[in-house]
Symmetry: C2
Subunit: 101 residues, 2 copies
C-alpha cells in the first residue's frame, strides 16, 4: 500500500469554496481503480493550508491510472485553480506504526 501526501496551499479567501468543491471532487478520487481511502485535513497554524492523504494499492494506481484517466481532467478542472503554489506530491510506504489505514 502506498500513501500519497500532498500539501495544498489554497489562495487566501478561497478556503470555503475549496472545501465545498472538494466534496464533489472526492467522489472522482474514490471511484478510481486502486483507490483505498483518503483524508483531507486543514492546517491549524495557518488558515489556507491543507494536507491530502490518499491510500492507493500501488504507486501506479495514482501516477498512471488516476493521472492518465479522463476523470483526472475533471478533478484538475475542479481543484487546480485553487492552488498557489502548485502542490508537490510525495509517495510513502509504511515502515512502522499501529495504524496503516
Amino acid at each position: 500500500m502506498i500513501l500519497e501526501v500532498a500539501t495544498l496551499d489554497v489562495k487566501p479567501g478561497k478556503e470555503q469554496n475549496f472545501e465545498e468543491i472538494f466534496v464533489e471532487a472526492q467522489k472522482i478520487l474514490s471511484s478510481m481503480d486502486g483507490y483505498i481511502s483518503h483524508q483531507l485535513q486543514k492546517y491549524i497554524e495557518k488558515n489556507n493550508r491543507y494536507i491530502l492523504l490518499v491510500n492507493w494499492e500501488t504507486i501506479e494506481a495514482h501516477t498512471v491510472g488516476f493521472r492518465g484517466s479522463a476523470q483526472y481532467q475533471q478533478w484538475r478542472t475542479l481543484l487546480h485553480h485553487f492552488y498557489d503554489p502548485f502542490p508537490i506530491v510525495e509517495h510513502y510506504t509504511a515502515v512502522h506504526g499501529n495504524n496503516q489505514d
Copy 2:
C-alpha cells in the same frame, strides 16, 4: 482529533539505524495520554525521508502533555540526533474523507 505531521529527513546512511531505534521510541509515543495512533512511512522518491503521522485527542496532548513529559526527554535522546535539518511539525484537523484514523 488532531493529526500531527512531521517530515523527517534522516542523515544519509543512518536510515536503517533510525528505523530500528524508532521501534523502541514508538513505545514512548503510544504510552502518552491523549495518544490515539501513529504511522511512520518512508518516502519512495528519496531514501532518507520519512513522514510521521500521529493522531492525538487534542493539540495540547501533543504540545503540552507529550513535549512537557519526562518521556519526551528519552524520545529526544533516541531520535533527534538522526535529523538534519530539524523537522518542522504541523497540526491538522479533519475536513473531509472516509478515513479519519
